[in-house]
């Protein structure tokens, strides 16, 4: 076992998830590649969204991969920082909007 749960060397080993159930991996890859193909959004825009989501789900592999993908597709640090702030704002807002639940409960049982 590795000394840490996360290891940079594991990122290029992602393909090993195709072992044992290769048909599921193939379906995932087909879908994944179709999602990131140029469409109504460009590869650069999709990479920026992926970068924001990577921070929201706090996946270090995804942050590594999509920082590079965003740069490779023509984004700069300022745009990428804004993408991270979007993720932060949605995460923070999601916590805050649950405060309404808190207020509902408090209104119900409090005096």
């Amino acid at each position: 076992m590795a000394e840490t749960y996360y290891c940079p060397h594991d990122l290029p080993r992602f393909g090993e998830m195709g072992k044992d159930r290769p048909e599921l991996w193939a379906k995932f890859l087909d879908y994944y590649n179709a999602v990131f193909a140029d469409g109504a959004l460009t590869a650069r825009e999709k990479a920026l969204i992926a970068l924001g989501v990577a921070h929201a789900v706090q996946c270090p592999y995804c942050i590594d991969a999509y920082t590079q993908a965003a740069l490779q597709n023509g984004s700069d640090r300022e745009q990428m920082t804004e993408a991270v702030h979007v993720a932060c704002a949605i995460r923070g807002g999601a916590s805050l909007v649950h405060g309404v639940q808190m207020r509902n409960v408090a209104d119900k049982v409090g005096m």
Partner: protein, 350 residues
């Protein structure tokens, strides 16, 4: 990409100004020989069987000092093509009417006194003439009539713009270059360039960092939309070019401890279909002093044509042909075969 050098490697007395030091630095990366990787993919040594583009590098003089420049060009460089050599280029074209394209590069080629002579002669012979332009040169007081000259000779402008935003462009090409580039693009648009009316304005993207270019078609969409919406600028095509691990980009790779990673990336991304389409198969490159090369990158590494092919313009004029020709290769060649491939006309494979 930060901490721009203010002078060429040569002016700084930098070790990497010497081509053998560059070749040695690449060798230290320990990546396999280029021709061994070709063979592993069932490809023999690269050979040129046609000259579709005569690419003429008129010298290293430039008004910019870009961080990634494979020429080590700059205002301090004095290597420029003479009239005599330019006349030999024109004579070569005259004797080879089957060469359709004259591609003029530098440095900033427009600063060379022979530039307009070459353009005028190439155009008069009915060749497609390309000017590899850094854009800011169009704003120099000495070049006020340049856009009109280019338009009058129907010259295709191939202009460097590594980002549609200021931060990336300035980081690579120097402070304030993005704003100048926009001004120059507006001048070109005003002269009719980039509007699909026969005056071609193409942009060249290369990564602002140590990674491969993104998808060429997708980047072109972003560039077209962003430049049109934010700046009212139009152009025809975007071409992606991989940064070649030589000269100032090699210096950047070494300074940032990225050389090994970058060479491993290039080799891991080797694409045999890109190797099938590399430009050296259809280009002949001429140096400022009349020496012949298989490509502009070999030119900067001082690796002339070989394997029995003539090595100078006058040698070629005397002998008559440079084909078929086995191409000189080195570890830097992985820069042209990685991913979608790279050439002076952009990506070469899917």
């Amino acid at each position: 990409m930060r901490s721009l050098p203010v002078l060429s490697l040569q002016s700084r007395g930098h070790e990497l100004a010497a081509p053998p030091a560059q070749v040695a630095a690449l060798a230290r990366s320990g990546v396999p020989a280029f021709e061994d990787v070709l063979a592993r993919h069932g490809r023999g040594p690269l050979e040129a069987h046609a000259i579709e583009v005569l690419q003429v590098n008129v010298g290293k003089l430039c008004n910019q000092t870009c961080a990634h420049c494979h020429v080590d060009a700059g205002p301090d460089r004095r290597e420029v093509m003479s009239r005599e050599t330019a006349e030999q280029v024109v004579e070569l074209l005259r004797r080879h009417p089957g060469i359709p394209t004259l591609d003029i590069t530098g440095g900033a080629p427009e600063l060379n006194p022979q530039f307009r002579y070459l353009v005028a002669e190439g155009a008069a012979q009915g060749r497609r003439v390309i000017d590899r332009c850094n854009l800011s040169v169009l704003l120099l007081p000495s070049q006020r009539d340049l856009v009109g000259f280019l338009a009058a000779h129907r010259v295709e402008v191939m202009a460097s713009l590594p980002s549609f935003r200021a931060s990336g462009t300035d980081a690579q090409r120097g402070d304030g270059v993005f704003a100048k580039s926009l001004d120059a693009l507006r001048l070109l648009n005003a002269a009719g360039y980039g509007k699909g009316e026969g005056l071609a304005l193409n942009l060249v993207y290369n990564p602002v960092g140590t990674f491969l270019p993104g998808d060429q078609a997708s980047l072109e969409r972003d560039y077209k939309r962003e430049l049109q919406l934010r700046h009212g600028i139009v152009f025809d095509r975007l071409y992606t070019i991989t940064n070649m691990p030589i000269s100032r980009f090699l210096d950047h790779l070494e300074r940032t401890d990225n050389l090994q990673r970058y060479m491993d990336l290039l080799v891991a991304s080797f694409n045999p279909r890109a190797a099938d389409g590399v430009m050296c198969r259809t280009y002949l490159s001429v140096g400022w002093d009349g020496t012949l090369y298989d490509c502009d990158f070999n030119q900067m590494l001082e690796m002339p044509t070989n394997h029995g092919a003539p090595q100078t313009l006058w040698g070629l004029l005397a002998r008559g042909r440079a084909l078929p020709r086995r191409v000189m290769t080195g570890l830097h060649c992985f820069g042209c075969t990685a991913g979608a491939g790279s050439s002076c006309a952009g990506a070469v494979a899917e």
